[in-house]
Subunit: 328 residues, 2 copies
Amino acid sequence: MGIRIGILGYGNLGRGMECAVKQNPDMELVAVFTRRNPEDVKILTEKAAVCRVEDAAEWKDKIDVMILCGGSATDLPGQTPEYAKLFHVVDSFDTHAKIPQHFANVDAAAKEGGKVAVISVGWDPGLFSLNRMYANAILPDGKDYTFWGKGVSQGHSDAIRRIAGVKNAKQYTIPVDEALESVRKGENPELTTRQKHTRECFVVLEEGADEGKVEEEIKTMPNYFADYDTTVHFISEEELLNEHGGIPHGGFVIRSGRTGWEGENQHVIEYGLKLDSNPEFTASVIVAYARAAYRLASEGQSGCKTVFDIAPAYLSAKSGEELRAELL
Amino acid sequence: MGIRIGILGYGNLGRGMECAVKQNPDMELVAVFTRRNPEDVKILTEKAAVCRVEDAAEWKDKIDVMILCGGSATDLPGQTPEYAKLFHVVDSFDTHAKIPQHFANVDAAAKEGGKVAVISVGWDPGLFSLNRMYANAILPDGKDYTFWGKGVSQGHSDAIRRIAGVKNAKQYTIPVDEALESVRKGENPELTTRQKHTRECFVVLEEGADEGKVEEEIKTMPNYFADYDTTVHFISEEELLNEHGGIPHGGFVIRSGRTGWEGENQHVIEYGLKLDSNPEFTASVIVAYARAAYRLASEGQSGCKTVFDIAPAYLSAKSGEELRAELL
């Protein structure tokens, strides 16, 4: 029997998780927990149960790792400590400023339960963090850049949908090519928010809504759009669904730094992702860390970890011998 | 007092190591060990000693981590096990096929001495291996590509210099743009050796040597050049020194893979390096792993490790709290 996985929350990320578990033969999806009526939730895995989230505690001895697929704003701050007392858990908590507090809460709970919890897993935070950290350790005298996109920002799409007269919308975050090229050349530019990314919006209006008014409201929205060069396209609902139905994303982490007795040599380290499906890729990262959580626990560890604290080999289904022979 | 570092071997890599130690305030270079007459070896660090390699054992209690800067063919197979009995050690052993045997030898010696040894550190093997491993764990259904260059291959440059009539030479390995672009698009091409890299040679002839004969001998050299599209330029010694005096290198590790219930979505993970100085960058990686070796040892660990076995946080001089607040 493989590592027994539970999924808590069955939105885009939860569905991606189900697919990721299927790709890993050493894992088995046991149950999906939902706030909806379980009878209304159809999942893809034949042998897995669909249960009410209130019944999760009853699965304490039947699930090894519970993957928490809720949101960072209101779900995970409560859920991750709660379930870390009962299961090994992995979450994708991504409110950067609140990570230290979340870490402390989850660490206390996981230690109380003798469980391993891994927080803030995915690609940013997650793989991008790893690459920032490795690159900083290797090139102490250098400068970091992170670019996001081209990809769909759910937060910005939601913000547009809240405007009166908007029926539906999709927003793409796009890195500015000139900025990216300058960073890649090691020119170490100082970049404003506007110089790093542009925002492109595809908007479906309610009947009778005023294009000019909506466009103005988008472009001047504080925090979300006012500091960016923003383009707005008005399209039909059909075009939105056909042409902008996916959830692609990606981005780049780049560090340039100097070495040599007098800093005479320059180096550029670049990590890039190009993702057709943000939630499915995020889920694939989380599933690898679920394996790590299970293995760390079998060695007697407990408490909260991040991607910084986990040796890479724990993520792989291969043995140390296989990894050294095939991938080193 | 910081981590006390010894450098064994003072060629390009050893000199890069000295520069890298200087960039890390928690480390201190104590001594450089050389096979040459120590009086003939001038180093840059004022307070460090220059000693005969035969006297290294006398430094057992004065050095924490001995960094082995010899070659993989004849130096490291003997040196790493020998010194792992006396010091924590890091090497850059890069003969991929012999890594399992080297690991076993070093592991036995390090355990006997109660020391931590980290082998095969640098960028390939090293950072490229890490990226192959992370990407494989995250996208189990995918395909790996490694491209090297544009950069100087010392082995190929040496091979040209051994040809009769050649006074000096420098060889660049260059990835083929079309192959790289196809991989980045996720087309998963099957690529022959010739389709992945080209080789460009800059050659200085002895007086009276025959250009045509040397060019023919280079282009038909088995293993080194015969399987590649090779360009040969004959230049003056002055031009070689002025225009081709550096040791740049770099390359790309790319994995493309599929996710989704039916593999309907595609993702591309790319890691790239662009290095002005191959030995200085390699040294910068090794110094970070020297810190990790020292820390693992202070937790009571011993034996042989690779980059796969070491949690990223051990590489950084920052605390866990700092890493979570600043880089996660």
